[in-house]
């Protein structure tokens, strides 16, 4: 029961069904396609994006969250989680192997989407400034990789905790798209917690900074990664306690 074997097993599981491929393909094609479309319709339009980050990355991120949550909820749906724990009674090891695979795949999706969108602007939009001169420029293009990976781990942990596909997908979509905005609107309380919301920080982490948040982009990334790690630990504790 080597770590490499466990990771290979999880990789085969993810790659041998169609839905992760669809999610990954749609995420990459969506980010690149929407970026390309926007700069064709309105040349130079992307240059004004806040902090230089690409707003369409959020669309790709949502699909990655679905991919990550579903990678484990289908195991509960079809009880293959029991086969997993039969083969790997060390449940912590089994969950960590899945986490590694999901995080790497999500990171690659984030990177390909971001680089692809950058290439689309460079090819299609003579007005936008796509030169990568400063470290901030590089950060904006490369940071989606670790941000996607950390958010995917967050979604995976949610999937492990709630087990049902519909519930997990609802949570990982509704929370970033609506939940965080609604929380921010709560008088008094909202503005106080808003800087600490995970997807506010995930968004901030993919910018060059300069927003009104307490964290720098690197700080936001570290914060989201910490949240993901904490939720993953909670998921591992629960998985070890309950019956499979």
């Amino acid at each position: 029961m080597s770590a490499a074997g466990l990771i290979a097993a999880e990789r085969i599981k993810l790659a041998s069904v169609r839905s992760p491929w669809w999610c990954a393909g749609l995420a990459v094609a969506g980010v690149i396609g929407l970026t390309g479309l926007l700069v064709l319709v309105e040349p130079g339009g992307m240059a004004d994006a806040p902090g230089g980050s690409n707003p369409f990355l959020l669309f790709g991120l949502m699909l990655v969250l679905v991919l990550a949550a579903v990678s484990v909820t289908t195991e509960y749906r079809y009880s293959t989680i029991r086969m997993t724990f039969e083969a790997v009674p060390n449940r912590t090891a089994a969950v960590l192997a899945k986490t590694v695979v999901v995080a790497v795949v999500s990171g690659v999706i984030g990177l390909v989407a971001s680089l692809g969108a950058w290439a689309a602007m460079w090819l299609l939009d003579p007005l936008s400034d796509t030169a990568l001169r400063t470290s901030d420029d590089w950060w904006v293009v490369l940071s989606p990789a670790p941000v996607f990976a950390a958010c995917a781990v967050l979604a995976l942990a949610v999937g492990i905790l709630v087990r049902h596909t519909a519930a997990a997908v609802s949570i990982v979509l509704v929370w970033p798209l609506m939940g965080e905005q609604l929380v921010s609107f709560i008088p008094g309380f909202g503005p106080a917690v808003q800087p600490w919301l995970p997807f506010v920080n995930a968004g901030n982490a993919m910018t060059a900074g300069g927003g009104d948040l307490p964290f720098s982009p690197v700080g936001s990334l570290a914060y989201v990664t910490g949240l993901a790690a904490a939720l993953l630990v909670a998921a591992i504790v629960v998985v070890n306690r309950r019956d499979a």
Partner: protein
């Protein structure tokens, strides 16, 4: 070798498995028999470390399941043929299992060949018939060439050909010296497959022993003679329970030898002395009648 010691599992106020203790020895097919809901599957899940017992423990090959290194090499199990992602091919399903336990990729093709699924190995498992799913589940169980095998209701819903195939496979696995535990609520099936039986009802051990002994325990002796009243009196005096039937006297709780000797000792003549072997079903009902969880109360039937 499977050792179950004082295994107990509670769900809220119901006790699914209650202080269960038994051994399953290598080289035989052991039937795990009980009505639906008697705790067979729960017991098997606890043996495999999937469910956590509230008390007691189960050991496989001398170790708790969680202590086994690459457990598929020691234990193979088919608990439910539907535990497969429907959009994954049969081969991919076995490939990830093999990789998780460091088994060579060649084993996947070997077990696919053993169960006769080579031709459909690339097809998605969701399109499989129940019989094919069952074969895929057995392929997964055999993947690590394990010494211990557990099958939960493997013949449920299969056609006669599939039933025969599974029966022969289990007997072959036992003949190779492996430990085979197979659960069923079909007693007639167990009589043909298993040489040892572990019978449970409502999570408790009801009986354990060779299948033949179990079948004989439900046997009666039929006697017929020219003086039935005298024979009945002699047998009752010897401590047997006697019932009068049209065919003769039905004696329960004895062998032909003991009944014949008791009648002979009284100096009476017999015209017939026959062992009436009860069906396994009757023996089973007799033993488990207090332990059926959802018994029909016979409502609406006049007493």
């Amino acid at each position: 070798m499977i050792e179950v010691r004082g295994l107990t599992k509670r769900y809220g106020r119901t006790t699914a498995v209650d202080d269960l203790t038994f051994d399953v020895r290598p080289g035989t097919v052991t039937g795990f028999l009980g009505p639906n809901g008697s705790g067979k599957s729960t017991t098997m899940r606890m043996v495999l470390g999937l469910d956590r017992p509230d008390a007691g423990e189960a050991r496989v090959a001398g170790k708790r399941y969680a202590e086994l290194r690459d457990p598929l090499r020691t234990v193979g199990a088919l608990l439910d043929a539907k535990w497969v992602h429907p959009n994954r091919s049969a081969r991919s399903h076995l490939r990830w299992l093999a990789r998780a336990n460091g088994l060579p990729a060649g084993r996947v093709d070997e077990v696919l060949d053993t169960v006769g699924l080579t031709a459909v190995a690339g097809k998605r498992a969701g399109a499989f018939s129940l019989g094919m799913s069952q074969r895929l589940g057995i392929a997964a169980a055999l993947l690590g060439d394990p010494q211990v095998l557990l099958f939960d209701e493997p013949v449920n819903g299969l056609d006669p050909e599939g039933i025969l195939w599974i029966r022969r496979l289990m007997q072959r696995l036992a003949a190779e010296g492996r430990t085979v535990l197979v659960s069923s609520h079909l007693l007639s099936e167990m009589a043909l497959t298993a040489t040892e039986l572990v019978v449970i009802g409502r999570g408790r051990l009801v009986a354990q022993g060779p299948t033949a002994q179990f079948v004989d325990s439900g046997a009666d002796v039929l006697v017929r003679g020219p003086r039935p009243d005298a024979i009945a009196a002699a047998l009752r005096a010897a401590g047997f329970e006697v019932a009068e039937e049209q065919a003769g006297l039905l004696v329960t709780g004895g062998t032909t030898e003991r009944v014949g000797e008791a009648v002979g000792a009284a100096g009476l003549v017999l015209h017939e002395l026959t062992l009436r072997r009860g069906s396994l079903e009757e023996a089973f009902m007799e033993i488990t009648k207090q332990d059926v969880e959802y018994a029909s109360t016979g409502a609406g039937v006049p007493a």
